[in-house]
């Protein structure tokens, strides 16, 4: 059976499964729509959280980032997992005890202020919308590469599918489909990795293979071999290279951790478990399921990099026959050339491929001696690492089809979680909470479904017409969540004296500092030409990249909030009693409004 037919069958079967689950798990009440009725088992919730959290970026892009940044990419691995420790201990159990439906609702009640609630809604919507655009793009890209339909058609199919199960089932439908999507995506990720690890090292577990000796009889460890291969071609040493220095790495890791803990679509997943103690252990289960992919990714990245160089540099560097002849390039090379994500240019006209770092003066000088005229792999898009991996390793067609289904599952599950966070902020926080207090449950449920549909249309539109700022979306989503929502929640729980004045001032200060830093380097509202400081290392404050600035914003938030709170009146007694009550687990009922 050819690859295309097989891919249609595998992807079609997973879609049928998601739709079947959606029909079975229809939501009948607002409780089911917002928090799946609060009855999800902690392990099931952990699995759903894993799918919710691991987006198209985790599935498709992360291994590529690791392949090209080596040790430097550790900041993504630690940043996107370490946040769960903070979430499990500082937020999840207390918010579960509070027992309401949304994150802005907690902020509004705890700081006895609709203003605080609206500020939180704005932060939530901005962070979630920017994040969801990336997922929509992921859906479009995965469809267009594997099913050979155009990007727009792929996006419409994805939108229709999410529309069906998210509006019908709300959180309940999303939770059960996410569990199925987790299973699909984790198999799709780990099976090719196991094959490749087995080929290179003889150890089928990628986590151990990465630390093993090569099976080629050289007696070298895989990482030592990789270091040798890349440094001989003038690239930085794999196990020690950093992206922008060690301080930047420290701050970036911290930003991703607190950003992770502050992302509302993740937090709200812990409202769906029955008890406070379940919220604690469920965060652990979520991290187990996430760790399976996150500890595999470093092996996928390193091994793909090694395979790629081995394919091209077939013999000794500098020898006339040492490089792969372009005519003899493998089929996957041709396939990816068609997409434009892999580009070759025969600069020295020898018909062979030279792939090395021509930006390294020492290497460039040496290469001239070989008659090389510059790096000829003019484009190697890092996103192809995971997608092309099974082809590079010559794995069977069904594995390639599974990877397509996995990429779609990762993008769809995250998109659905984000869309639910957006729609519940609109129907529950803005309508029910502020503007139409008397609304009946039935009308609220309908409003929830309508705002879900609206959010899907907006996200789809933005996916079709990605705004110029798409590249800065990571900075915004994590920056906003880390600099505004995380500190507000933490102070609300751990600092009883925190009042509404402090919380609002802190959130606004945190967002402003982060956004200002991003804007001054990337352009005001990301409009090119309006940046007043270039986006270059020497202009960065202490050498910190704009993407990494959320941690600094969070520190500003904490400082401003505490200072303002000390200068203003303490919160009323009933609020202090509320804080006492969320700190102890006893008496946590089902989530209610």
């Amino acid at each position: 059976m050819d690859l295309k037919t097989l891919t249609y069958i595998v992807v079609g079967a997973t879609f049928a499964l998601y739709l079947g689950i959606a029909f079975w798990a229809r939501a009948g009440s607002t409780g089911e729509f917002y928090v799946a009725g609060g009855g999800i088992h902690p392990i099931a919730n952990g699995m759903a959280t894993g799918a919710d959290w691991m987006s198209a970026a985790s599935f498709i892009s992360m291994a590529g980032l690791i392949a090209y940044n080596g040790y430097g990419a550790s900041l993504f691995l630690m940043g996107w997992t370490g946040g769960y420790v903070l979430l499990a201990m500082l937020l999840a159990p207390y918010l579960r005890k509070f027992g309401k439906f949304t994150v802005p609702e907690f902020i509004g009640d705890r700081f006895y202020s609709n203003t605080a609630r609206i500020v939180a809604v704005v932060c939530l919507i901005l962070a979630s919308i920017t994040y969801v655009i990336g997922q929509m793009k992921g859906v479009g890209v995965a469809f267009s590469r594997f099913l050979e339909v155009d990007y727009d058609t792929g996006l419409y199919i994805g939108m229709a599918l999410v529309f069906f199960y998210a509006t019908l089932g709300g959180m309940k439908g999303i939770t059960y489909t996410q569990i199925a999507q987790y299973v699909v995506l984790i198999f799709a990720y780990t099976i090719p990795a196991m094959f490749i690890s087995m080929n290179l090292t003889g150890n089928p577990l990628p986590q151990l293979g990465l630390g093993s000796t090569m099976a080629d009889g050289s007696g070298m460890t895989l990482l030592a071999k990789l270091n040798l291969v890349v440094t001989e071609l003038g690239f930085k040493e794999y196990t020690t290279q950093t992206i922008a220095g060690r301080l930047d790495m420290f701050v970036y890791t911290l930003s991703l951790m607190i950003g992770t803990a502050g992302l509302p679509h993740v937090i709200v997943r812990f409202f769906t478990v029955p008890k406070v103690s379940d919220a604690r252990s469920s965060a652990g289960w979520a991290l187990v399921f996430i760790a399976i992919l996150y500890t595999t990714a470093p092996a996928v990245g390193a091994m793909a990099r090694l395979n790629l160089h081995a394919t091209i540099q077939t013999g000794e560097i500098g020898s006339p026959e040492g490089n792969l002849s372009y005519e003899e390039r493998p089929q996957w090379f041709k396939n990816w050339e068609k997409t434009g994500l892999l580009q070759f240019e025969d600069k020295n006209g020898d018909g062979r491929i030279q792939y090395y770092n021509d930006k390294n003066p020492e290497m460039a000088a040496k290469a001239e001696g070989f008659g090389w005229k510059g790096n000829e792999m003019v484009k190697v898009d890092r996103d192809i690492i995971v997608l092309a991996n099974p082809e590079i390793a010559k794995l069977p067609h069904w594995v390639i089809a599974l990877v397509a289904a996995g990429g779609l599952a990762a993008a769809l599950s995250t998109a659905a979680g984000l869309l639910l966070a957006i729609s519940s902020a609109i129907s529950h926080d803005l309508l029910k909470g502020v503007f139409m207090k008397g609304i009946s449950e039935k009308s609220e449920l309908r409003a929830g479904r309508i705002s879900m549909a609206g959010a899907i249309v907006v996200a789809g539109y933005l996916g079709l017409n990605p705004p110029g700022f798409a590249a800065g979306t990571v900075a915004i989503a994590f920056g906003l969540a880390g600099a505004s929502i995380f500190p507000a929640l933490m102070l609300g729980i751990f600092y009883k004296r925190m009042n509404k004045e402090g919380a609002i001032a802190g959130m606004i200060a945190g967002i402003s500092v982060t956004m200002l830093y991003v804007f001054q380097h990337k352009g005001i509202l990301f409009i090119k030409g309006t940046e007043f400081l270039g986006d270059l290392g020497p202009n960065w404050f202490l050498g910190i990249q704009p993407n990494a600035f959320g941690a600094i914003g969070a520190i500003v938030n904490f400082a401003v909030a505490i200072m303002v709170a000390k200068m203003t009146v303490e919160p009323p007694q009933h609020i202090q009693d509320l804080v006492e009550s969320i700190r102890t687990p006893r008496g946590a009922g089902g989530a209610t409004h």
């Binding site: 690791i66 040790y71 550790s74 691995l77 630690m78 997992t81 370490g82 769960y84 420790v85 499990a88 201990m89 500082l90 159990p93 986590q207 151990l208 990465l210 630390g211 093993s212 000796t213 460890t221 895989l222 990482l223 030592a224 196990t239 020690t240 060690r246 790495m249 420290f250 890791t253 911290l254 008890k275 406070v276 103690s277 604690r280 252990s281 965060a283 652990g284 991290l287 187990v288 760790a291 996150y294 500890t295 470093p298 009883k496 004296r497 006492e580 700190r583 102890t584 687990p585 006893r586 008496g587 946590a588």
Partner: protein, 87 residues
């Protein structure tokens, strides 16, 4: 600022004590071993892994998982000791 509230206060102190312990380990394995001390630890090998690199790409994640389950387990004990557990 926190008014002492009898047993509730002792419960909260025990909670904060556990939090501090876990957060110290969390910080040491990731920011400490994985980032600040990585150049030094890399001279030690763990199988084929330089140790600092291993902490940054593998070890810290395993320890994060263990930390959350340890925290959940210890909190369950603290809840019962102070009679604030559920059910």
């Amino acid at each position: 600022m926190e008014k002492p509230q009898g047993s509730g206060d002792a419960y909260w102190r025990a909670t904060l004590g556990l939090l501090t312990t876990v957060l110290i380990i969390w910080f040491v394995v990731s920011f400490g071993f994985g980032i600040i001390l990585q150049p030094m630890l890399d001279s030690i090998m763990l199988g084929g892994y330089p140790l600092g690199f291993w902490f940054a790409q593998q070890g810290s994640i395993y320890i994060f998982v263990a930390l959350i389950f340890y925290y959940a387990h210890r909190m369950g004990q603290i809840d019962r000791e102070h009679d604030v557990h559920e059910d």
